[in-house]
Amino acid sequence: MSSCRRYALIALLLCLVGTAVFVAGFGLGRYVFPSSDSRAWQVASEQRQQFSPFWEAWRIIEDEYYTEQPLDYQAMTYGAARGMVASLGDPHTAFLTPEEADMFSQDLSGTFGGIGVTITPTDDGFVQVVKLIPGGPAEKTVLQPGDVVLAVDGTSIRGMSQNEAIALIRGEVGTQVTLRVRHEGQEMDLTLTRAIIAIPVTERKMLDNNIAYLYVGEFNARAADLVKTDLTDLLKHEPRGLILDLRGDPGGYLHIVEQVADEFLPEGVLVIERSSTGAESRRNTTASGLAESIPLVVLVDGGSASASEILAGAVQDRGRGVLIGEQTYGKGSVQVTERLSDRSAVAVTIRRWFTPADRAIDGKGLTPDIVVEYTEEDAKAGRDPQLDRAIKYLMENTAQ
């Protein structure tokens, strides 16, 4: 073999290897690790044309805007995203900054580094402690419900939104936070160590007359396991009936309510989902639940929303139990939260849902079988007429 032919062969080999590797790299880049950049680039050219007024406005602001601080381009970008999303006119479709997105996901996963209090805004722009979470850091201090938080780590929270105040108080587990609080009319500083806070998601108890009671506060990541544990324990007492309290439950994850509903409902449709493309899918419950035949009352009110309404709607439509309380919230849509490349996120309404009998929930909510109001006077007097009615119903309709 002449050396010339040998070099030609080697060159050919190199070309083949090079091409093969290029194609492999291209495929890997395109289909396995596509960059968000390239997808963003593919926005239809017509839309880019329509978007040009935005950049006109942007440049005018850069040139003409009167401000004492330099322009905050990040805030302008997030503002634009927020406004673009708001133009859709759907209250449940939202843009979240990275901080907001983190807080949102912390809420749903049920654990975060906090001090173990729930708060509410005060009239004068601060926040007030409403409840201490059992076992949390705050419970070990003098902090009491009604105390007002004035500042966090030296930063006054006056005029901040509740979410901004929360973001300051929360932080990495094990770190310290100093609160300036007004406690019994006196101002004082309290230093607390942030800890993982277990939000009580469920609460179970046996009521008189052998009636079981289960409260579910939120369908977060831990709710399914907790409900299973609670039900197992409650059913040991062989109760004559079960009251499932979904009042004030704002919803949560769809796959969690699916698991929870499975415990209460035999085989059948749980919810019908429809997407904007007209695609329809049904989510079903299977015949393997812990509490599929026990007489059931579900308590609902205007705070029962989303996932709670899926469960309550299926119970009502399939005749599994009765709903007692007040008209539910009526949030009949499903959102997905998608993280973006800088850890901001969009929560997008992807589907609307309908009960097994094909009733739309959105905007209307569910009307209980037995409507019972819970007034402010009831709250002050410590009465719960809705629970009382549920107990009465079970007493009348079940045999001991």
Partner: protein, 413 residues
Amino acid sequence: MRLSSLHQWLLFGLVLATVTAVAGLAGFLIGRGQLSLMARGLPGTPPAQAQRFLPFWEAWLKIERLFYSQQPLDPTAMTYGAISGMLDSLHDPYAGFSTPPEHQMENEGFAGEFGGIGAWLARDERGTYVASLQPGSSAESAGLETGDRVLTVADKEIGMADLPSTTLLIRGPVPSTVHLVVERGGAELSFDIPRLVVERASVQWSMASAAVGYVRILDFTGRTAHEFATALAELAAADARAMLLDLRGNGGGLASAAPGVLAQLVTGGIAYREVRSSGEETRVAIPFAATQPAPLPLAVLVDAGTASAAEIVAAAIQDYERGPLIGTRTHGKGLVQGLFTLKDGSSIRITTARWLTPHGHPIEGVGLQPELIAQNDQEALSLAKEYLANQAGIVVESLRLPLLGDSDGKVLV
């Protein structure tokens, strides 16, 4: 080219490794779409913002792909939403975005004239009705009457539509005709009304006593300086020997109209100073008036509703000691807004400067302190009467201010 076999194999290996690495990386980056992005940048995006703006496009794409909606997405509405959101992020209380039709109304408001029918419309819980008619207007000649309920405009149902959208339907180019169906006493009446140039007066005047002329500026439009000149000429013809200028409740408008009004009250000097972010200061001069009116004794009525362009006029009168301000401290709006029309006919309004009085006093958040404080209208009028009588050397029995039409909540179409 005689290398040892070992060297040859090393060289071959090296070349192979290089080719593999370069080809693989190039393939990966091109496949990922990063090279094209680096080469071209994001559409229309300033290069400095390209990286920061990616999440915005990602959000847009997620919405396109995922959002549940009965109607197709409207990219124009989304763009306008983005502009509004960006303006909100500035925390400029005076910033705002207007769609093309809104901007057209905004422009007509500043111009003080437009193509219309000369009817004042108002809205109540039953819908839109004719509140009054401009004398001599085409609406009046066509036979429209006060109290008529507007059912359709150009065959579009009005129902409970808001006034701005009804306004836009009725106004239009001159000459043209608009078709209206109204309800009067249970009957439906139909009108074809020609659109003519309608002027919305921004200045009202009358004699407040035998010798005192009264001028009220409602707001500042492109017509204000001209109307003000007419008012002064007519009052002079009526032998006014002192003047009461009423700026109460005047929230401003077109700031550039203020120097033209000042030219008729003050001789020369600057109307106000404008300071931009850069610290650059512009002195806006009072233009030279063609005819100098007689320097009548002047008093100016102000209140907490006196703002912006009205404060510019009041501040210059105060700084040049042309006459006393009477009333309560003014609003204190010392920020100037620019109105910028975008290529598609929409507009943004942002604060572009703060303004200072001719003597360099800031106004924003401070307002003007009147020389003569009056807690109510009666007190203000008696102070004005006393001052003007003294200055002009005349006897003023009492000041009677004309009852002027209240245009609150009504729109001229």
